[in-house]
Each structure stands twice: as structure tokens, then as C-alpha cells.
Amino acid sequence: MASLTMVDLVGCASTSSNASLDRYLWRKTLHSSVSQRAHGVRRSGKLVTCRLDSARCRSISTKSADTLPNGTPEMLLNVKRGQISLGTVFDVVADDLLILNQNLKSIVGAENPVLMSAAEQIFGAGGKRMRPALVFLVSRATAQMSGLKELTTNHRRLAEIIEMIHTASLIHDDVLDESDLRRGKETVHQLYGTRVAVLAGDFMFAQSSWYLANLENLEVIKLISQVIKDFASGEIKQASSLFDCDVKLEEYLIKSYYKTASLVAASTKGSAIFSGVDSSVAESMFEYGKNLGLSFQVVDDILDFTQSAEQLGKPAGSDLAKGNLTAPVIFALEKEPKLRDIIESEFVEEGSLQDAIDLVQRCGGIQRAQELAKEKAVAAIQNLECLPRGSFRSALEEIVLYNLERIE
């Protein structure tokens, strides 16, 4: 059901990245395979025009389409179904990811058979490996700039460290949330008990700290250590503002940064550091990671409202039920004071949670959250401008779009 969205990303401020995006997407259209429901190799596009100046923006996109060999503007506007598959996006770093998987299993499993099974469980199927993929993509894209021929061991280690930290946080999150399922499989604590889950998470945090120290790069050590600190800060921030209807969007973004974007930003910046590029490029990579991470979190928060229980693997609106007020709710609260009363009552009345969810949708809370996700996505793509054009930069752009597709 997802469609490839031609996001008219930058409005009219910077048409260059807009045009390059269109050209890139057309190339993808011509070369990549599509799902059965699409017609031939053409992928559909739905222009989502910016608020600023829709007519002008649309015509700019059309112009760039004109310069391409095989397309007409109409094809951009026809809504035919296609899909960005992360598999194809990560094609360019597929080998790197394979090596990563093997290394991870041996690092975690070596100590203890129970840990090995837990590692199998969590590293087995399901994980998208998005964060390590980002490390590899940014590494390779920035390596081109500094004349590096091949990825260094530091790059690979960084990717492993990042994935371990991410996984450890997921295992602990599942314990805290008392979740039974993660990615359709039973959670570690469901299978092995809380004790093993806590220890497995601790073990991975500890291992990653040790590997991190051995990278012997102070800037990267500080960067990643900050992330582990931020994880905790994010959880605490969230716990201390449950059911607080006065929470501002700014606070929500800070919390989302701590919980999600911090790790992504550290991954992308760390990769750039190990490639030896300019600090300004490293900063741009940090911003890319941060904006991508925020966009990602906002999309997750939207899906909690819009997806069904089967799709989510847990009841819909579970964030709201717990008192965790996310972007759609924060926007809806600005419009509808009744929502405040329902939230303050902690949904004790039968059916009040569903009433709240309906209210959020009716007040355009979802729409405004979608705009926020797109805003961050636009910023992320802008951050990539310092990178040389090529398959790696394109893949980084596609990850941003893939994320937005989830809410189209």
C-alpha cells in the first residue's frame, strides 16, 4: 500500500537538492525492481507539494523530469504503487552487514550459552540493521572525500558497537514495558526471564564500552558515551512527564532526541570522524543523523495511532494509554481542550481511550505530526549536500524517504 512519495522537500528555498532528488528517484525507477503491483518498471509518484509556493515548486519538479530520457511529468503524478525496500537501499553495503552479523554473534555469544541463545533471539531475524547500515553508508560516502580506499577496522567496530548498544537498549526497554513480543518474536525476558534479560543488556552495554575505549579516539568515545547517558535521560524525562498535558513540543523533541536520535547522530558523526573528513562535514553528518532520528521517532509515534493492533504487535494507542504524550497528541491538545480532561482522567472511563484517539485524529493531530516528520526529513536531506553524489549519498536519501513512506 505504500507509494513512493516525491516529497517536494526543500520548498523553493533550495531547488538544487530538489532536482537532484527527482533525478535520483528517476534513476531508481529505471533500474530497480518493483513490486508486482506496479506497471512495468515505472514507479509512481505523488507530488507532495510544499506549503510555501505549491505551483512554482511543482513546475520545478516537472522541469527536471523533462530533462530525463524516459519520463513525463504525468508519470510523477500518477499514483501507481511501488515501494522502497530497505533491502535494495542497503544493497551497496550488504557485504559489510554480513560481516557485522557474524562478528556480533561471536562477540556476544562467546561468553555463555544462555547469552548465546539470547543473542540468537535478538540478533536473529527481524532487525533492519539500520544503524550499522548508516555507519557503513556514511563511512563509504565520506571515505570518498578523504581518499580512503576501504573501510577501516574502526568503522566496522563502530558499527558493531552501535548495534550492540541499540540492542541492549531494546532488551531493557522490553523489560521495562513488560512487552512479550518484539518484531513478532518473543522478547528475551519473555523467554529467559527478567534476570537474563537485564544481564544480557548489561553485558552488551559493557562490551560496547570496552570496544569503544579500544578504538582510542577520544572524540568518538565521548560521543558514544553521551548516547548511553542520553538513553537514561530520555527514559527519566518521559517517566516524569506522564499525563502532563502542559508538555511542549520542544520538550517532546528533546526527549525524542535522547531516546532515539542521539544514537543515530552519534553513529553518523562517528563514521565521518573515522573517515578523517573535515569537522564541518562531521557536523553535517551529526545533523543528518539527528534529523533522521527525530523524523523516525515522530513516524513511530504516528503509527502508534494509525496502525491496528496486529500491525503494531501491541494494542493501538498504547503510548497514550500509559500517559506518554507524543507529537500527534501535543498538536491535538492545542485544538481540543476536551482531550485534556480525558487524559487527566487517565482513561479510567470505559471507551475513553478510544475517544481520545478519535479526537486526536479529528483535530488534525496526525496531519500536523506528519508535517513535522517531513520537516525533519527535509532538513536531513539538506544535511547530505556536502557529500559527493553517488550511490551512497543516494541510499542515505532513500532511508529518509523510506521512513516517510511508513506514514503515507
Partner: protein, 247 residues
């Protein structure tokens, strides 16, 4: 000093009609359920035709109060209405329409069993009453001799060595009418110090929830139970308590 509950009530005013002794005996049996039975008082009360009704309403009330933690952390509107109705039924059978002329009846230690005050949403989160701190019993000790009322809120902090403590709010009261008093806040203390540290940041919030200031209408008073309605529209239902609360 907290006044202990007096088990033997002084002779009560003859507000009740007399009934044959046999009938009194039968009714006395029914009242055995409640803890602080004073045979003399029970006999006097059982001479009222509505005392069976009252004990039935009380039974229904205790039934309705099961599992809702005194109503403080959220009850459905259905449950609230149910309890409201039972309380109104009790109030219509109030055996003490002039409690301020019989202050000995309210003197002593009482424990809260239901209230419409609620600690929910952001307030509850800010006070740490979600996972971190548990609200224990709430007591009210009334000292008629000194026209003083002390509200004691017990708290229990998980972790922190299972810290137990309390917030004590001291207030004085003046009689307004035969059933109404006005309460004036005097002072409050949190003990021990570790608990004070925990509530430091949100002390004002805590006080605003439990501050008894304003008038209080005593709408039902008997030997075991008391109902009050305050200026803010809240209802308080308390039962007589034997527990010593060290202040």
C-alpha cells in the same frame, strides 16, 4: 497529643424512641459486625427503626468501596454515582443532626475510607505516586478540647530502604453552625527528613491537595462512621480508628 478512641461512650441524648427489650436484642445481633460496639450505645441505636436500614446501607457501601483505593486514584463515573447515592441514603438517616453540639462524637481518631479528592494525571506523576511512592492510610485526629484537627497522610517509599513517613497537617476549627465548622490551616510537617527531601520540589502541590482549609459540613455522624462535605465540593467518608498515629 492524639486522643485515643474512647471505647465507652458517655450517655447519649435520648433522641431515640424506646422499644421492647426483645427487639433490641435482635437488632444488637446485627450490629455485632462492626468493631467498636458499645452494648449500651448499640441498644440505644437499635431502638431506632432505621438502624437496620443504616447497617444495610453501610454494608452496601463497604461492598462498593472494595478495590478502589478510597477513590483517590481514579474511579469510573458509574462507581462514583453508586457511592454518592449510598452516601446520600446514609445522610438522610443521620442520627446526629447537630454534631457541633455533641463534639464528643467527632472527637478522636478517624481513618479515611473514601473521598472524592483525586490525585491523577500530571499531579500524580509529579508527586511520584505512580511507581515510586505509595500513599498509605489517611487519618484525621480531632482534639475537641483544643479545637484542633490533625490530618495525617502516610507514605511509603519503595527502594530507599522501604522508607515510611507521613505528612501531618495541623489545623484549628471554629464552630459555624450546629453542623458546620470552619477549618484554618496552622502548620504542616513531613517526617522523617528523607521523605521531606523526596517531596521538597512538590511540597506546595502536596499541600494543595490535602489542605483542609475552608468550611466543612458534617452530614453524617454515628459511632463508627462520619461523612463530611467541604467548601470545594469534596466528600470525605471516615471510619473510627483505633490506630495510634505518632505525631
Amino acid at each position: 497529643m492524639a486522643t485515643l478512641v474512647k471505647l465507652v461512650q458517655p450517655p447519649c441524648p435520648m433522641a431515640f424512641t424506646h422499644q421492647p427489650w426483645q427487639q433490641q436484642q435482635a437488632k444488637f445481633g446485627e450490629l455485632q459486625r462492626f468493631r467498636l460496639i458499645n452494648p449500651m450505645k448499640a441498644a440505644a441505636q437499635s431502638s431506632s427503626p432505621s438502624s437496620v436500614e443504616v447497617s444495610q446501607i453501610k454494608e452496601n457501601l463497604y461492598q462498593a468501596l472494595q478495590g478502589i483505593n478510597r477513590g483517590i486514584f481514579g474511579t469510573t463515573s458509574g462507581k462514583k454515582s453508586e457511592i454518592q447515592e449510598l452516601l446520600e441514603q446514609l445522610e438522610s438517616q443521620n442520627p446526629t443532626p447537630d454534631p457541633t453540639l455533641n463534639l464528643h462524637k467527632v472527637d478522636g481518631c478517624w481513618k479515611l475510607i473514601y473521598s472524592t479528592i483525586s490525585i491523577m494525571g500530571a499531579k500524580r506523576t509529579k508527586l511520584g505516586l505512580r511507581d515510586f511512592i505509595t500513599l498509605g492510610d489517611l487519618f484525621q485526629i480531632i482534639d475537641v478540647a483544643e479545637s484542633k484537627a490533625v490530618n495525617v497522610m502516610k507514605f511509603n517509599v519503595k527502594g530507599l530502604n522501604l522508607l515510611n513517613g507521613q505528612l501531618a497537617i495541623v489545623a484549628s476549627f471554629n464552630i459555624d453552625s450546629k453542623s458546620r465548622v470552619t477549618i484554618t490551616y496552622r502548620e504542616s510537617t513531613i517526617t522523617p527528613d528523607q521523605l521531606m527531601n523526596v517531596f521538597q520540589k512538590n511540597y506546595e502541590l502536596l499541600l494543595s491537595i490535602f489542605n483542609p482549609e475552608g468550611w466543612l459540613e458534617l452530614t453524617y455522624v454515628d459511632d463508627e462512621m462520619r461523612i463530611g462535605r467541604d467548601q470545594k465540593g469534596n466528600i470525605f467518608v471516615l471510619e473510627r480508628s483505633e490506630e495510634r498515629t505518632d505525631l
